[in-house]
């Protein structure tokens, strides 16, 4: 019997469950290795060589080299593990999160200062009809209310 996973019906969101964790085990363990300064240096010196030491899929390696965090998450990555790649690159958590939204770094930062992304239109898959990020922000929602 399939398990109940109601969280599949939340747009723009991947819940890191035991199934995702199974797919992403080596990708996430690779990320974990970047907590050691010497590993960060080796990774930066030659990413491909370093990645080839891990039992990751080719797709996972390509996603890491492209710094495509949405793709990494689709392949079983978890954001707290993937954050180690960002740390190695000198990126903040806000830069990493913003990079997954299709917004520019400035636009994302501005959205957060103005109260973040609104919950309206962002609860269910069917609310994202054309698969575009719902751009409704709390600042816009407040304006509409007035």
């Amino acid at each position: 019997m399939p398990l109940d996973k109601p969280y599949k019906d939340v747009p723009g969101t991947t819940i890191f469950d035991a199934e995702e964790s199974r797919k992403g085990y080596w990708l996430n363990q690779f990320c974990m290795s970047l907590m050691q300064p010497e590993n960060r240096e080796r990774f930066k010196a030659d990413e491909r060589v370093y990645l080839d030491e891990w039992a990751m899929t080719e797709e996972q390696k390509q996603a890491v080299m492209a710094r495509d965090l949405n793709r990494c998450i689709g392949l079983g990555g978890n954001i707290y593990f993937l954050a180690k790649i960002g740390a190695t690159d000198g990126k903040s958590f806000q830069q990493m999160a913003g990079s997954m939204t299709g917004m520019s770094e400035e636009a994302y930062r501005e959205m957060m200062i103005n109260g973040g992304r609104s919950i309206e239109g962002n609860r269910y898959l069917h609310e994202w009809t054309n698969k575009q990020t719902n751009k409704q922000t709390n600042a816009l929602a407040d304006k509409e209310k007035k």
Binding site: T13, R40, A87, M100, I113, G116, T133
Partner: protein, 289 residues
């Protein structure tokens, strides 16, 4: 006998720690947030505990995917600050109360809560940011936190995470354990994490002020009802990382009113958006004297 005198709730956003470490607390972006903790620092000085039982989650620092404990109790006497990839934060390591931790392990496990006991556990921002917010930066000539700690790490990274109901129950068991400890010491229990935030995917940046406000209202007034909230509501309404708020229910479950005593007094309540990607919530509940 040991007694719990207060519970404290706060977000543990890593950027808050970075702002303190880089001397940015007076910048316009950060000033309103730190202003919200000025009262708390004075309150803590006036109500200094001997031990803080600190509920938090590890963010892939102490625990990789090799071991994923649902409830991990720190039972050692020294907790080093983790290097999360940016280098360790320049804050003191924490000193553990190993005797009380052993007592809690003995008591809580015998009440059927199957804890994992951990004797090697570097502490990440989930632990150090609440300490920094509540204590400020300790002076260089007395570089230590002003109380001992017992870390309680909850898995909220890999689903399924424990339910709010289970967290609330375990808080009650922790209260019974602490209250049966013979030494006369003052213990606080802190619940950390949240509030609404989502750090991943195209929906990142979600903030739900109304939901956060209601969560705090219900946590104060009717926590046993709040504890029934299913995971999916946290995920949908508060963001994929908003699920951290189940940890607040552990601290709340340890308050006297849940065991039939008087309701706690709300000493402080604060809410601010944003800290980086996250809504910051903070409460201090003191036991009625």
């Amino acid at each position: 006998m040991a007694r719990i005198t207060a519970s404290v709730y706060t977000s543990h956003v890593p950027a808050i720690g970075a702002a303190m470490d880089l001397g940015k607390t007076q910048e316009p972006y950060w000033q309103p947030l730190f202003a919200g903790y000025e009262y708390s620092r004075q309150w803590l000085r006036d109500n200094m505990p001997d031990v803080v039982f600190l509920v938090y989650n590890d963010h892939a620092n102490a625990f990789s995917l090799d071991f994923i404990p649902t409830f991990a109790l720190g039972t050692t006497s020294h907790y080093p600050v983790a290097d999360e990839g940016w280098g360790p934060r320049p804050v003191p390591d924490a000193e553990g109360h190993a005797e009380l931790a052993a007592h809690i392990a003995q008591s809580v496990i015998q009440e059927d809560f199957d804890l994992t006991l951990v004797n090697r556990m570097p502490i990440d921002h989930g632990f150090t940011v609440p300490l920094s917010l509540m204590c400020g930066q300790p002076p260089a000539d007395d570089f230590r936190w002003p109380f001992k700690v017992i870390p309680f790490a909850v898995n909220v990274v890999q689903y399924p995470v424990p339910s709010g109901r289970r967290c609330f129950q375990i808080g009650q068991a922790i209260r019974r354990a602490i209250e049966s400890y013979d030494e006369d010491i003052n213990v606080h229990i802190w619940g950390t994490g949240g509030m609404t935030h989502q750090l991943q995917g195209p929906r990142a940046g979600l903030i739900n002020r109304e939901w956060d406000k209601r969560f705090m209202d219900r946590l104060i007034a009717d926590p046993s009802d709040l504890a029934q909230m299913p995971h999916i509501e946290y995920v949908r309404e508060a963001g994929s990382e908003g699920i951290e708020m189940v940890m607040w229910l552990i601290a709340r479950g340890a308050m006297a009113d849940v065991a039939g005593g008087p309701a706690p007094v709300v000493k402080h309540r604060f809410y601010h958006v944003p800290a980086s990607n996250t809504a910051v919530g903070h409460l201090i509940l003191e036991e009625a004297k």
